[in-house]
Symmetry: none
Subunit: 219 residues, 4 copies
């Protein structure tokens, strides 16, 4: 009873969010199918029954969890991109750092879930994410690259699409694999170094061949 009382101090309006957070974490940890609603409940500090007050069913829970977080994942960056005064390389750095620079536990969970836990459980959600997230990002980066090429900042013969793709999916994948760093020797690299080096390499791969590029890494 004492315990129960304690639980009640949390505002009920936070419940749904708590459940979503818990779900995200647990799904990412154990996989969607391997997670019982009871597990989610436990992680959220409620019983499984309570979940049904806020979500129609397990799949709805998954969908909402993804939806909510995957939006923030590849969020507001339009301004950065639109600011044509800055050199493309600078804008690229900003964008990529915004996306991959700091990976909180929560964001890692979403990405993991989306990248390896969902394709078969919620194919539509997965596709939607693919379109709205990675693919959009890749397209945006490709656009920036092309702008750089037009401006003469990047070499014109580079394959902008493939460059963008490799950068984004490489970084995504690596970010997820970091989690296995302990058990897989050599799998891990610091996220900071990962992003910095990735950007450096990326920009170098676009640098005009002969003359020296304008590489300045100040951050």
């Amino acid at each position: 009873m004492g315990t129960k009382a304690l639980r009640w101090e949390r505002r009920p309006d936070e419940r749904p969010q708590e459940i979503l957070d818990a779900a995200l974490t647990v799904f990412a940890e154990r996989g969607y199918r391997n997670t019982r609603l009871e597990d989610v409940g436990e992680a959220a500090g409620v019983t499984k029954g309570a979940i049904y007050h806020y979500f129609a069913n397990k799949e709805a829970l998954l969908l909402r969890a993804i939806e909510q977080r995957s939006e923030e994942a590849f969020g507001r960056i339009e301004e950065i991109v639109r600011d044509k005064t800055a050199p493309v390389s600078t804008r690229l750095r900003l964008v990529v750092r915004r996306w991959f620079g700091s990976v909180t536990k929560e964001r890692l969970a979403v990405v993991t879930l989306l990248l390896q836990g969902i394709a078969h459980e919620a194919p539509d959600a997965f596709r939607r994410w693919l379109v709205g997230g990675p693919t959009a990002s890749m397209r945006l980066i490709a656009t920036l690259v092309r702008e750089g090429q037009e401006r003469g900042e990047f070499r014109p013969d580079a394959d902008a699409d493939v460059a963008a793709r490799l950068l984004v999916s490489g970084l995504l994948q690596q970010t997820v694999w970091q989690q296995y760093a302990e058990s897989v020797p050599d799998a891990g690299v610091e996220q900071e170094r990962l992003v910095d080096s990735a950007l450096e390499l990326f920009l170098h791969s676009l640098r005009p061949s002969g003359r020296s590029g304008a590489l300045r890494l100040k951050r």
Copy 2:
């Protein structure tokens, strides 16, 4: 009846392999947990019971399916790497093309399964693959890059580890995502172009710059 007759024309000694192939395909398509043994049986042209003649249980089936195929996935390439007469860039091209050049339906299935289907279902197998496959490949490529740096073929200030990582995981991920190309507009690029451009960009990112040493990464 006709069906039954047909079935008997296949030699029983091929059964295990047929089942493994079927399992791989179906697992990759629908996900391990979403696949009933009966589905595998159906795909292999037998009933679920028959599967138990050859495999102890569902997990053993999964494990064997992975094991068998993932071996061939990142196979013999030592010779290429050891051949110090050729320039490093040439050897890198050979190695990467060997791995990602032609992706058969079967290989695609394994990779898909491994990349997004089993991290939670068979964590050990997943880790083993990570170690034996991608990580080993990345290490190998990183080694080659360093060799190129020592030889002066590549610029010395590039981050070999990150470069290798991005290349391998980027290509892997893209290869898997190809499968969603139809439903995700713009997601797809021909595998050939993907690999060629990736290599071109990769090598360009390592090319010595006109000026040298503008960038120093910790480590």
Copy 3:
């Protein structure tokens, strides 16, 4: 509907006990292996799923059913045995009557289950019962017999161990076989007569003979 309503009148806290009782009965009736959890559920007025709320699995159910009942089966009798003021024969009568005098439906079920239903299904439980139940009883009776021999109440040349064994296992077996009395002509004897006569014969077999010492058993 009516049935459903009825079901809710029973208090949920009695469920586990109801299930145990049902299990005991059904197991004894049809045998452990021949009983589906669904049968137990039916007998207890719940569905199989409900059983899993209270018991981890079928074996745990069996074990608990045995455990609970077999405890009471050969219960507290120490006092009787210790009371050295009464003649041994009196104490023996009390003890045996306590054990075999009144056999309720439930106790019969346990004994049946233990005697012919589970030696192969739960060998450990069976052995534990053998040790804690029959064997302990036999030992206790043998001890009493020896006491009687020392006191001169019984003839000293009787084999106390075998006497105890025959009495206990004979009574047990007969008790179980009573159940087949209808279909096996002549198999049955009233339990009352069985116990009374058994005691009479038992005590008579230990009574000092006129002449003494005609027989010496090794040991």
Copy 4:
């Protein structure tokens, strides 16, 4: 092939018997339901398929195994009983020794199977055995006892039926429990001593009260 050749040296006409023997043993060891036909096959040196050449199905196998052996179990003793010249006690001794004196591995298997493995698997066979075996034996012994009572050899107030029952079922049960002697401390008594002492006690329990009986144990 060499192995196969060897197997063929056994005469095929012995097959059924070999299978029956194997079945009996394995059934008694592991229980009927816990035994797969493959196990029986293995024990008999054939494959499960072969069993179906000789027996319609698993139950038929069980039935035949029981039938064959349970006949010999309580076999020819009529002559002994009919020989009215010998004292009843002598005839009783002969009969009981014939039944329980030497228990071969095979006979133990039958008894075990019948006593604790079968009641639920083949109730009819079990009942038939109960009637033809133990019950018949008990009846026969009871008859002998009554004869002894009429002749004045035994005390007339003893309960012949119960005496016979206890003797037979006690001995049966003990014989089966011998098998657990190792794991159940104190459970075991040598079969020889068991039978001798049982007889001694049995006869003593029937001895006329006052005067001394004619107990002679020569064997």
